[in-house]
Structures are given as C-alpha cells and as structure tokens.
Symmetry: C2
C-alpha cells in the first residue's frame, strides 16, 4: 500500500478551526516537511503509528519522555497499581516520600526535591529559589539556550514585556570570557547562573560544555554567593545516572528535571542542596496536578531501571551504531552529514546545507519509508531502540540517501522556513561534539 | 479502633528530610490543624483513606479536580482505552481535535482552545495572548485574588522581583469605582482585565460577582480595546455548563480552565474568541506533557457528562442539604456559622471567630470522626456526594458540634496561624453570597 497522509490532512483542516494555526508549541509540525503527520494514533516500544496507519521508527521519543520504550510493561504495571488506589487526591500519596528519597539517593548534589509537571515549572521555580536565597535579581543565561516557554524565558517576543526579561543577562555558551563579563554586569545583584548541560538548540549543531566553562560557572557562584542551576530537563538521565555536569566534576546548587523522569507520565522536579533548602521552603509554588500519585509511581520504577540496568550504555551503543551507519551511508552516496551532540541525543544535519534543503528532503524520504527523524531538533533514543531497530532504520535511511541523490539537482529551499532567521551553519563556528 | 495518625506522623518525619518543610503548595497541611493527615493512600467516589487507614468523606475533591467522584468508572474506561493506544507521543492524538471541538461547542464565547497542564499555565498564557493582541502591558487584577503560583501572580513575595509584577494593577473586587480607577491608571497601556468569576480567597468569606462589576469590566475592555479574561480555573463547570460569567450575561474574550476539566487527569485550557485567534497563534507556548492523549480522552468523557447529565443540579441539591443542615446544627449547639460561596463550592467559617479557634477545633472534631472539611479554603462537591453521603456527613458534624460545645471555654488560638496576617472577619465588610 502506498504511503498516504489523507486522514492527517483532514484532521489538520478540522484542527485549524478550533486550535490557533491548527497546533502550537514544540509538537506543531508547521515548520516540518509537509509529509510529516501532525497526529498519532498509537505508540509501542520504539514505534509510532499515525492516523493513516503508517508505522514509524520514532527517533523523537515524544521529545524526550520516552526513555525505556513507549508503554514499558513494568513501568505501566507500577502506574496501574497506583491508579487502582488513587491519583489526584486531596493530598499526595505516601509514595511521594519514596520518590524524593530515591532521587536524593541517586543525584549527588541533591538533598531535597520539589515536584512539578513540566520543565518550565522547574526552571521557573529554580530561578525563584535562587532569588529568594540570594535576595538578588539577575540570572545569567546563554543567549539562545531554551529554558522553557513562560514569558521570562520563552524564545518568542510576542506578548512578552521588557519587564519579563529585565533580570536576565545573556552570554555566549562555552565562552568563559563572555560568562565572566556577564557576571561583572550583574555585579552585586547576581542571583544565579542557569545553564543547560550541553548546547542543544534547534537548527544548529549541538556541542558539549567545556569543563573550563562549567568550572568557571561554579567558581563565579562560589565567589559571589550566587547559585549554579543546571537545567537538565532535556538531557537528564540520558548523559549520566546523576546530574549531567557530574560528568565534568561540577555539582550545581539546583538542578531542573522533567521529560523522561517518569517515562512519559507528567512529572518534573527541582533538586537542591542543603544550602538552598530554606529558600526552597519559603517560596510558594504549586499546581493543581503536581501531587498526582500515578506519575510518581511511574517515576519510582523508572528510576529503579536507571539505577539498576545498563540502559545508558545501551543507549550509547545504539546511538553509536546509528551515527556510524549514517556517516558511512552519506559518504557512499556523496553527502556529508554533520552529526553532533551525544549519540544518544543526536542532531543530524547535512554539512553545507544552509537552507536545510538537503536535510528536509532526506528526512521526508525517510519518513515516507517509515523512519521519523527530525530535520532541525535534537532527537532522543530509548532502550527500545535495539540493535535490530537501528539496523531496520539504517536500511530505510540508505534508500532515502539513494532517493536524495536522484533528486539532488531539483531540490528547492523549504518554504516553511522562509523568513526564519536561521543560524549560520559553518562547522568552524560551532565546536561540534 | 481509636483514630490514630501514627503512620502519617512518621511519613511527615521522613518527608522533612527530602522535601523542604516536608511539603509545599496548596496540599501542604502546615497551616491545618495538627490532626490533618498529609498523605493519602486511596480514594473512591466521595471518600479518601489516609495511611493510617482512616476513612474520610472528602469535601475538598483534590482541591477541585474531582467532579464526578474519584475513579469514576466511565471516565476511567475512556482513559484506559486511550492508554492502550498511546499517551505522551511525538505528536498529539487525533482526539485532541475532538476535545477542542467539544469545548468550542459547549462554551459560548469559545472559538478556539489551547491546552496546558495546570491553571498557572492557562492564566500565564491568557495574559501573554492579551499582551500580544493589544501590544500593551498592564493587566488589572483584584488585590488578593489567586491566579496561580508563577512569579508574576504568586501570593508570596519570596523570590519575586518588582519587575515580575510591574505590569499588574490592583483594584477591589466588585468595586466598580476601584476598577474604573485602575483602568485609568493603566490608561493607553491596558492589555486586559483578569478576574475570577467569584471571590474565593482563603481565610475569608466568599462572595459572588455583582452583575454591575462584570458588565463594567466588559465595557472597559470594549471601549479601550483591552481583553476580558475570566479565570475559571477553580470554579469552571461548577457554576455553569459554560463560562461562569455567562450566568451574568457577560462573555469574556479569553477564559482559563483547569481543575475538573478531566476529573483528576492533568489538563488545563485557554479558550478564546475569534478576535484573539491571531494573537493566540503568534505566542509560543508549550510543555513536555501538554499533548498527552490520556487526559484528553478523560476530558472528552467528562465534558459529555457535563453536557448530558443533571450533575450541576445534583451538586446544588447536595450543597444546599449540607448548608442548611449545618446551619441548623450550629444554631442548636449555640454557634453561628458563616457559610458563603455557591453551595457546591462552600466556604464554612464560624461567625465571630477572628483567630479561627472555633473553626479549627470543629474541623478537627469532624476530621477525627471521618469528615474532611477545610477550615480556611473553599471546598468542592462532586456528584459522588449523594444525599446519603451528605446525611452521613451531617451525622458526624452534629457530634462535632456537641464536642465543640464541651470544649468551647478551653480553646486556644491555633498556633499554626500565629503571625499570619489574617483578613478581618466582620460580615459587614464582605458581601457574603
């Protein structure tokens, strides 16, 4: 049966009437190639099915939450057992204490936890705790780093006032001089440095943090009394069984978590050290669904798997197999890829592809053959991405490279990116990792 | 077996080590009488069980989410069916379109929807859309009204900067002159009026909005081009099968929803009219778990029950039975209650009880006999609060009044409220409804 997206197109039509632009946020397909489905019907392990019953090997993992495979049996069993007892109640379940103890045991710098739902809840709370602790206002962030979608941190200017961002000071990621200069601007009003563990922006190469950058951030905080906040929402537990900067020997005061914490159940967290406990206790933070017991039950089982299995080593093996396989194929068909970021959170771009025409065309060829790659956002692997699944994906990607070689001369600039200020894509300007 | 809270006290001990103060947010029991359990083990219908196996008739309904009873069979069945297919995926399920269509059909002013997780997501987004639409900054809010826990709206000053709240202008709820004066202060920079449908503050009598206040708010917006936002997160669908201010004949431009939208599953929403569609489409808003399919499936079934059953009339009957029964009992035992707010969202305070000693003691007597009343926060009824359940609760409340009469002379001011700036509690200063 030929690939079709007839149902998805009808759904998009209906959606446009009752949802602005038909969709919003990071799961909108507005900037993706036209063939990408907006809606999905089913998920299992490493696979997704759209509403036209096309099956995909999914390299997005719900943009991170799926760490152990969709509908993982043991995690679902733990969630179901709690669901039989209660979920949203007039107070939390006793398992909230178990979960907090588990996280404090697992994450080196953590001595307490506060749970929320989304990453933005966690980054907003961490910033507030830092201000409560220091009684200062300024927070240093790397220009372009994503820390959530609230007015104070959203990448879009629409509806945002100057006051919302008045207390942020930008600097260049991994640039120690720029970081030091930003701290100097903040001066005695420096509350915190908020930083992602590596640079994972859309539309550009990813790169890891230099140890010197991380150590300097820690030192600035130590000297000034400001707090170091690692925003591990996206990368947490895909880099380490600890806060991601533990791999660099740097411990933050606060860390932000979300995404894969409960393998798809909605849960985020701020973890902190003892220094920050009083400030965390004096801030008012809450949400109607923050105390749900089912996501906490799922998280406890997820964290046991994180602690007790080779999940991380398996992610790295699968990611290495994918990266090496794709590089060989690209070369064979006369292309050069720019694959960056940790292999388990790959960004796959084409070298010398400033308007993304190669990347968009190749991703479309893959999609219509059953592999969901993202042409501009970092991807995520799960433990359901076994060697067999990666091998299956590589068979399809090879066909896509062959098709791309045929179409190469006739490719146009993707219309859906017109007018977008795309970052420069020269490899020398990004220290790719 | 005598009532005991030994397990709960041990859990609180453990919690204090790994959670600041042992708990945070609206489900913290720090300000409740000491006997109140912090943790719960199970919920069903109108009942809760704590970790010491005490069973309670629960008048908090998870602070709102429980509208049709905990673990409602049909809603759980709809959620389970979707869970078998998928929940957090790389895109939303097609049922997101069904849900948006259902809400647009049900809520008069609504022509589009955007979904989030918590109420704060919805109020923050509505404020941002209003600013994007008007290209102005100022938002009028009633002083003391609760609109969420982000820095721009949180009731606590800790960790909050002056800039976070620089674009809010306060006024007195229901005071037309005060509202007009606030609009005059905002002048050409007025983006929106953000208002709860009735006044539901902690520690004080509730009161309904005057039609004149609502109509004036609408007129100010019409004349100035600002947007009227009704924050229906707490009251939505417990006042009307529509936006709550539809009962006053006033349609907002934007409304915020959450709490009971999916009977306990995490879901919130902003609904808007066509005027605001473009602005809603240009704002960037998202969250890792905002596209979860299971809460949307639960919401579709919940909304069908809202549309097709007498749930609202039943809530009002049950609430009336409770209010009238309690008033009679109070009189019989020599007390006077101040019961305010809609009967289905009751606030039960004692008249002439400025330091809450009567209210705290009575609530404690009720709790230890199996009824969970809240001594300072408005409560919520569900359809599981049948006549039989209310009658059972009234038997217990009568025993509590009898016990209170015995203890009356020996009551002390509640220690957990010491130092808290409690609002004045004279009935004349609040137009109780």
């Amino acid at each position: 049966m030929a690939w079709s997206n007839a149902n998805d197109r009808l759904l998009k039509e209906r959606a446009r009437r009752v949802i602005p632009n038909g969709m919003y946020g990071h799961e909108s397909t507005a900037r993706l190639p036209e063939v990408y489905p907006q809606f999905f019907r089913r998920s299992e392990g490493a696979y997704l099915w759209d509403t036209d019953n096309n099956k995909y090997i999914d390299f997005m993992c719900a943009f991170g939450p799926n760490l152990f495979g969709y509908r993982h049996k043991e995690i679902e069993r733990a969630a179901a057992a709690q669901r039989e007892r209660g979920d949203s109640m007039t107070g939390p379940s006793e398992i909230m204490v178990d979960l907090a103890e588990t996280l404090v045991d697992l994450v080196t710098h953590a001595q307490w936890c506060i749970f929320g739902k989304n990453g933005t809840d966690a980054t907003t709370l961490a910033a507030t705790i830092a201000r409560a602790h220091t009684k200062r206002r300024k927070i240093l962030v790397a220009t372009g780093s994503y820390h959530g979608a609230a007015p104070w941190c959203t990448p879009s200017p629409n509806g945002v006032t100057a006051e919302d961002k008045a207390n942020l000071i930008g600097h260049d990621y991994n640039n120690v001089e720029s970081l030091v200069a930003a701290a100097r601007v903040a001066s005695h009003d420096l509350a915190a440095i908020l930083v992602t563990p590596f640079r994972h922006e859309v539309f550009r190469e990813q790169f890891l943090a230099d140890a010197r950058y991380a150590v300097t951030a820690r030192e600035i905080c130590d000297v000034s009394g400001a707090l170091l906040i690692v925003d591990d929402v996206r990368a947490g537990f895909r880099i380490a069984r600890d806060c991601s900067w533990a791999t660099l020997g740097v411990q933050p005061d606060l860390s932000c978590w979300g995404k894969c914490l409960a393998n798809g159940y909605p849960l985020s967290a701020v973890l902190g050290n003892d220094l920050t406990r009083d400030a965390a206790g004096c801030v008012f933070t809450t949400g109607s669904f923050w105390f749900q017991a089912v996501p906490m039950a799922a998280a406890i089982r997820t964290l046991q798997l994180i602690r007790d299995t080779n999940y991380l080593e398996n992610l790295v093996s699968a990611g290495t197999l994918l990266r090496e396989g794709l590089d060989k194929q690209a070369t064979r068909y006369g292309f050069e890829l720019s694959q960056t970021g940790p292999v388990q959170m790959p960004q796959i771009l084409f070298a010398d592809d400033p308007d993304f025409r190669l990347g968009y065309a190749w991703a479309s060829e893959c999609l219509q053959r059953g592999v969901y790659f993202h042409p501009y956002h970092n991807m995520f692997l799960s433990t359901a991405h076994t060697e067999a699944v990666i091998t299956e994906a590589l068979c399809i990607s090879e066909e896509a490279f062959a098709a791309l070689r045929q179409r190469r001369a006739h490719l146009a600039s993707p219309a859906q990116l017109a007018g977008l200020p795309l970052p420069p894509r020269t490899r020398s300007s990004n220290r790719a990792a």
